[in-house]
């Protein structure tokens, strides 16, 4: 047999794969699992949200408490996400561009919030700033409210979303190395000029990716925020907390209406995330390894 004939034999039946029946069975099993398990809850939210028609849906969202919850959620995300983006860039700059002692320890500590229960993330702030804490009497004397107020919600959200941007940027910037920055600096550019004109364009898509994930978590965070919020309607209720209150009051239609809004945010996040992955796969490549 010549070489060509051998390769044709292989083309007919790929020895390094499963048979047709096995393939179809595995794909079907995966599809059924996803449909029944991942999609069903999402479909239920949307169906229940619109069960009583669009008028009732809009009415639930126009409720003053719902409007206040939406505003608070946006405010919290507007503070927590930029903060974590700046910290993420700073952390990635220090870790990826320099070699120093304690680097691995720093990496582990940045990831720490991922392995702490959201409820505990809220609890630590209650223990630090709550009425019974060491700081409590002093805060009260100076009329500073942190727990059961907006600052506590923002702090707990920052805690929970702390690693998101850093995690995306560190592997990418490590793989990019320092040669481009070195070239820019030797040609006389300043440090900040180099950062904004050399580094930032290289990491912008990964930064956006991290911000996107950070934002989705910040707007949807429930456990940590629930502990520090105090559930004061119209004042310290974010959207997820508002959903819980409505649900516990058996106001399911309104609960699912607000939930539909958050599910829409999740879908938008997924679409943007996939678009970034498809169009800028190369600029995200190193960040995809986790």
């Amino acid at each position: 047999m010549s070489d060509i004939e051998i390769s044709e034999v292989f083309r007919k039946r790929d020895v390094a794969s499963e048979g047709r029946v096995a393939r179809i069975a595995l794909i079907s099993l995966a599809a059924i699992f996803l449909l029944g398990f991942l999609f069903l809850p999402l479909i239920v939210v949307i169906v229940e949200g619109f069960r009583h028609g669009p008028a009732e849906f809009l009415e639930a969202l126009a409720d003053p408490d719902a409007v206040a919850a939406i505003k608070l959620t946006l405010l919290v995300a507007a503070i927590a996400v930029p903060f974590n983006a700046v910290v993420g860039v700073a952390a990635a700059w220090a870790i990826a561009k320099f070699n120093f002692r304690g680097k691995n320890l720093l990496l582990t500590l940045i990831d720490l919030p991922f392995s702490v229960s959201p409820v505990i993330s809220g609890l630590v702030y209650v223990l630090l700033f709550g009425a019974q804490s060491w700081l409590g009497p002093w805060l009260k004397a100076n009329h500073l409210e942190i727990i059961f107020a907006v600052p506590g919600i923002i702090l707990a959200t920052i805690f929970v979303t702390f690693p998101f941007v850093a995690r995306e940027l560190i592997p990418l910037m490590q793989s990019q190395g320092t040669s481009e920055e070195e070239a820019s600096l030797t040609l006389g550019a300043s440090g900040w000029y180099t950062f904004f004109n050399v580094t930032l364009p290289n990491i912008k898509w990964a930064l956006l990716y991290g911000v996107l994930l950070c934002n989705a978590r910040a707007m949807g965070e429930f456990g940590a925020v629930s502990v520090v919020s105090g559930h004061i309607r119209g004042l310290t209720n974010t959207m997820p907390l508002h959903i819980e209150i409505l649900y516990n009051e058996f106001n399911f239609a309104a609960a699912f209406a607000v939930a539909t809004l958050l599910a829409g945010l999740a879908l938008l996040t997924l679409i943007l995330k996939s678009a970034l992955e498809w169009h800028y796969a190369d600029s995200l490549a190193a960040a995809q390894q986790h």
């Binding site: 096995a22 561009k97 070699n99 720093l106 392995s115 702490v116 907390l241 958050l262």
Partner: protein, 281 residues
């Protein structure tokens, strides 16, 4: 003088080390480290007798057992289905593959409270699947089974996203060699391909397990929160806080952290040990 000091970092022409590291460490300390140490200090101030009294309370033990047990079972289920999904996504080309690939991240993106009420609506006795299960004579919601289901939902992407890139790197030539040497397809998959991705599979399962232990929002609606039966540890912390029992909340939180860090360390050591034994795979 400067030369005598041990070098803290290698020299570099790139500026901004002090600023970037200083800002990172300051933010990390203020947001994460100081609040977490407040928890440890607070627990230390309770004293061993009080600590033991809360730690050995049957309700505490039941909640911890449920949280860790359900997270473990969910991680095991996710190991199987996560591997299946990664395999299908990496090895096969079929219509809708990109869509499924994107949809795997849904549990990451969907707020946990939304997932929670949705799971409750699906699996409650009057829900879409719950009513069918009810007719067949078993309950899902308000039992530990419901807790496990919620944790499977939350943990799935961790396994898929960890295994997928490693599976993509597996060299197909080795499988051809195995087939040409006479191994059946099943034998090739289990003896040649899967051993290469076991470390990634274990890492993914560990991530799902760690997330499951602390999960709150997606569980509380479906769990029914019956003390000693379907009450998870994070919920017990919230209940203790609502009763202004700060000591109780602190002790349970510290127990959760210590047990989960100890387990994660054991798993990491096992990973390192098996890597050394099998060579770097």
């Amino acid at each position: 003088m400067a030369l005598l000091l041990p070098r803290l970092r290698e020299p570099s022409v790139i500026p901004g080390f002090g600023l970037a590291l200083g800002f990172t460490v300051a933010a990390l300390s203020l947001i994460v480290l100081i609040p977490l140490s407040a928890l440890v200090l607070r627990a230390a101030s309770i004293g061993p007798i009080g600590f033991w009294a809360i730690a050995s309370d049957p309700r505490t033990l039941a909640a911890l057992r449920l949280s860790f047990g359900a997270a473990f079972i969910a991680a095991a289920i996710n190991t199987v289905f996560g591997l299946l999904l990664s395999w299908v996504l990496v090895r096969y080309r079929f219509p809708g593959r990109r869509f499924i690939d994107a949809a795997v991240d849904l549990p990451f993106a969907l707020p946990t409270a939304v997932a929670g009420i949705a799971m409750a609506a699906v699996y409650a006795p009057n829900g879409w699947i719950g009513s069918i299960a009810d007719k067949l004579g078993f309950k899902i919601a308000f039992t530990p089974v419901g807790v496990v289901l919620a944790l499977v939902f939350i943990g799935l992407p961790f396994v898929v996203r960890t295994v997928q890139p490693v599976l993509e790197e597996v060299e197909r030539e080795i499988e051809e060699v195995s087939a040409l040497l006479g191994a059946s397809r099943l034998r090739t998959v289990f003896k040649v391909v899967l051993p290469q991705i076991y470390p990634a599979l274990l890492t993914g399962a560990t991530l799902a397990f760690a997330r499951g232990i602390g999960e709150y929002g997606s569980v509380i609606f479906i769990a029914g929160n019956i003390p000693m039966v379907s009450e998870i540890a994070p919920l017990l912390i919230v209940i203790k806080l609502e009763e202004f029992d700060y000591q109780g909340a602190t002790v349970i939180a510290l127990l959760m952290l210590v047990i989960s860090f100890a387990l994660l360390m054991v798993i990491n050591l096992f990973q390192a040990w098996s890597r050394r034994r099998l060579g770097d795979v």
